[in-house]
């Protein structure tokens, strides 16, 4: 099983993405945003996709329901949801899956919600469309959902417009909408990034509760390692349109085996520690128009040599269910303390 990973071998994955390549056409040329990504999502788990801007994390997740901008296309790869070949679906068939089986929440609820419809209208629409509910039934169900996501006075709020709600309430409304059809997968794209930290705490707690109740899997896209540690069962770390490391959450934090993952973990200021100095990964986040040739991280890596610049390593299973894309894991382990000291 090259490139994939299985948490519990006996289980069939709910979603399986193989060798995904996504390209975008822009004025400046073709952007190869995602290059050969593999991952599996199992029932009931939370998978975090971690990365910085341009890493391809959002595009990877959006591709699973073919929700790409018009200038983007999946040039290669397989996506299987349950027994369905997602790439072979017609637009009509796809619409039956989107929002019903796999739904999404976004970073900025204000842009994801339609400003000219009340939040009730928007939830009811989805219920009528996907579940064939009648008006009154759908409205009752919508009120029930708003109660579930912790919106006070749902009977009144249901007739309000998105702009009448605070950021946290809007995010709750969007979650209610996403959960309206009892999806088996929820894709959450930086759902708390725009929120204040006390509101973020509310939303994260809410998502955990609802995941249990609705028994769904979550793909959590984020750059925030704190949120990853708190929410995810497994994580894949992306850099330059590729997966550079993936493992269960404890392994990824305790035994990172890719220089980028390790660098990232050590470059964030933490409230639970007193670091004199942060590790700083040199250089800039690469432009997807112009990724380095060999290993995408080679030009910023503390451990890179000529081989890294010339040849991109494969994503190898270095121990059970722990994958890393690096030529020099041994060197990293030998020298990482020196690098950290040197930075000080």
């Amino acid at each position: 099983m090259k490139g994939g990973q299985v948490l519990i071998n006996t289980k069939q994955p709910l979603l399986k993405v193989e060798n995904l390549h996504v390209h975008f056409k822009t004025e400046d040329g073709i952007i190869k945003a995602v290059n050969g990504v593999n991952f599996e999502l199992f029932s009931g788990e939370t998978l975090a996709i971690v990365g910085e801007s341009g890493s391809g994390k959002t595009v990877t997740a959006l591709s699973t329901i073919r929700l790409l901008d018009e200038n983007g296309w999946i040039s290669e790869g397989k996506i299987r949801y349950k027994d369905i070949d997602v790439l072979a679906l017609s637009d009509n068939q796809l619409r039956k899956i989107r929002g019903k089986e796999i739904s999404m929440i976004f970073q900025e609820p204000m842009t994801a919600l339609n400003p000219v419809f009340t939040i009730g209208d928007q939830i009811i629409e989805s219920l009528e469309l996907h579940l064939d509910m009648g008006k009154q039934e759908a409205r009752n169900r919508a009120i029930e959902l708003l109660t579930k996501v912790g919106i006070p006075e749902p009977e009144r709020r249901i007739d309000q417009y998105p702009h009448e709600l605070s950021g946290g309430m809007r995010q709750r409304a969007m979650i209610a909408m996403a959960l309206s059809c009892n999806p088996s997968i929820l894709i959450a794209d930086e759902p708390t990034t725009a929120l204040d930290v006390t509101i973020q705490a509310q939303i994260l707690e809410l998502m955990k509760e609802l995941q249990k109740e609705f028994q769904m899997s979550i793909i959590f896209i984020t750059h925030d390692l704190g949120v990853v540690a708190e929410m995810a069962d497994r994580a894949i770390v992306m850099y330059g349109g590729e997966v550079v490391e993936s493992a269960d959450i404890i392994t990824i934090f305790k035994k990172p085996r890719h220089p980028y993952t390790w660098g990232l973990m050590n470059s964030i200021p933490r409230i639970d520690r007193d670091e004199e100095r942060l590790l700083s990964i040199p250089g800039v986040v690469p432009n997807p128009l112009n990724f380095p040739k060999g290993c995408k991280f080679s030009n910023r890596c503390f451990f890179a040599d000529k081989k890294c610049i010339e040849e991109n390593p494969n994503l190898e299973e270095i121990e059970a269910n722990h994958f890393s894309r690096c030529w020099h894991i041994d060197r990293m382990l030998r020298e990482m303390h020196k690098v950290k000291e040197g930075e000080r």
Partner: protein, 393 residues
């Protein structure tokens, strides 16, 4: 670091900034947004004060008001040894301010204490003694002249000495200027050298902030976000300011770039003894960079102390809740969390009494009736709460 005799660079007293809300065809003022409502603090030389809080707490408004990008509604802003408050007011306002702040106050004190020497003896603050001395020697005209003469020069002095680094490195650099002009502009205005000297200093500054000096003739669009933030930092440093206010300077950056800029700021601070007001919503970032921290909530300071005291012994329930809300990047740490209910109320209509009481886990009756003052509960540890230290998790 916090000894009393150390030089104070910035002192803010009872600062208020209200924004009027207007409505109707006559644009009548119907309400006031109390963005900043009576806050006071000092920043010593070489010290970094972190201002932290959630959206709408007034941290950025505080910064912008100190910089006089907003005119304060009330309060005194002292930079170095000078009261800079009237420098940016209209003539009438300035006179009114001086009358109220100094003339009337000193007259009243003179009536009470008799002689002018006694008045000066009874004044706590050096700056008040300075202006009292001027007033008693030269009268109201003298003090007015002292505060309002050569306003152009005074304003230039202020602009030179209070620099700012903004959040968005894309909109805060003029796209039509080259780097040499962006960084060198302040030096030119303040006549800090010949063109050649300025160019050399710009090149030197670029190296200090980690940019190649070969880029000196480039334009901002040729740089990445992190590099632009370095340009913004070099621009702030260029004129040797007494104070730098940084408003969410690292918030828009990717994680790996953010640590580069944080390290740069820490290095510069150590190397050049810079004095910072560091405004950010991210408590972890503020903790990393600050010596002292003020936690703000709805236009007020909830808690103010050294970094160590704040984290070792947070006394305000809001500080405790805020700290507990931050996810820790360690899956094995299972922390206890207080999830605060509800949203931050609008500063248009802040709750009566303690502004935090509707969300406070330990609010009592008094909290909804009276506003707790910011008290020094322990040495250099200020809290505005009737029950400091009583909420623990």
């Amino acid at each position: 670091m916090m000894s009393k005799n150390e030089k104070v660079i910035l002192e803010v007293e009872h600062l208020k900034k209200y924004f009027p809300v207007r409505a109707g065809i006559f644009k009548k003022i119907v309400a006031q947004v109390q963005a900043v409502d009576d806050i006071s603090f000092k920043v010593h030389e070489g010290e970094t004060l972190g201002l932290v809080g959630e959206s709408g707490c007034g941290k950025s408004t505080t910064g912008m008001t100190i910089l006089r990008l907003y005119e304060p509604t009330f309060g005194r802003i002292i930079l170095g040894e000078e009261d800079t408050t009237p420098w940016f007011m209209s003539n009438n306002e300035a006179k009114r301010y001086i009358n109220k702040m100094y003339v009337e106050r000193f007259d009243k004190m003179q009536k009470k204490f008799g002689s002018s020497e006694e008045v000066i003896n009874h004044l706590d603050k050096e700056i008040d003694r300075k202006y009292a001395d001027i007033y008693f020697k030269q009268g109201a005209t003298g003090i007015r002249q002292n505060l309002l003469n050569n306003l152009t020069e005074k304003r230039r002095y202020f602009r030179k000495n209070a620099q700012v680094i903004f959040q968005d490195p894309y909109s805060s650099l003029n796209p039509r200027l080259r780097i040499i002009e962006i960084i060198g502009e302040g030096m030119k205005v303040n006549k800090m050298g010949s063109n050649n000297e300025i160019r050399d200093r710009v090149a030197h500054l670029m190296e200090i902030v980690g940019l190649s000096k070969d880029y000196i003739y480039r334009y901002p669009h040729q740089f990445s976000g992190g590099q632009r933030q370095r340009i913004g930092i070099a621009r702030a440093l260029a004129v040797n300011p007494k104070l730098i206010i940084s408003d969410e300077a690292v918030s828009a950056l990717d994680v790996s770039i953010q640590s580069q800029i944080i390290n740069l700021l820490v290095d510069l601070k150590k190397e050049y003894g810079l004095t910072f007001v560091f405004i950010a919503h991210d408590l972890a970032v503020v903790k990393h960079i600050s010596d002292k921290i003020a936690v703000m909530y709805l236009g007020k300071i909830a808690e103010l102390s050294t970094k160590k005291d704040l984290f070792d012994n947070p006394l305000h329930p809001y500080t405790v809740s805020l700290m507990s809300a931050i996810p820790i990047p360690d899956p094995e740490v299972k922390k206890k969390r207080v999830v605060l209910e509800g949203d931050v109320p609008s500063p248009l209509n802040p709750p009566k009494g303690c502004r935090f009481h509707p969300r406070c886990p330990i609010a009592k009756e008094v909290c909804s009736k009276e506003e707790p003052p910011l008290n020094e509960v322990e040495e250099n540890h200020y809290v505005s709460c009737f029950f400091p230290g009583q909420f623990k998790i």
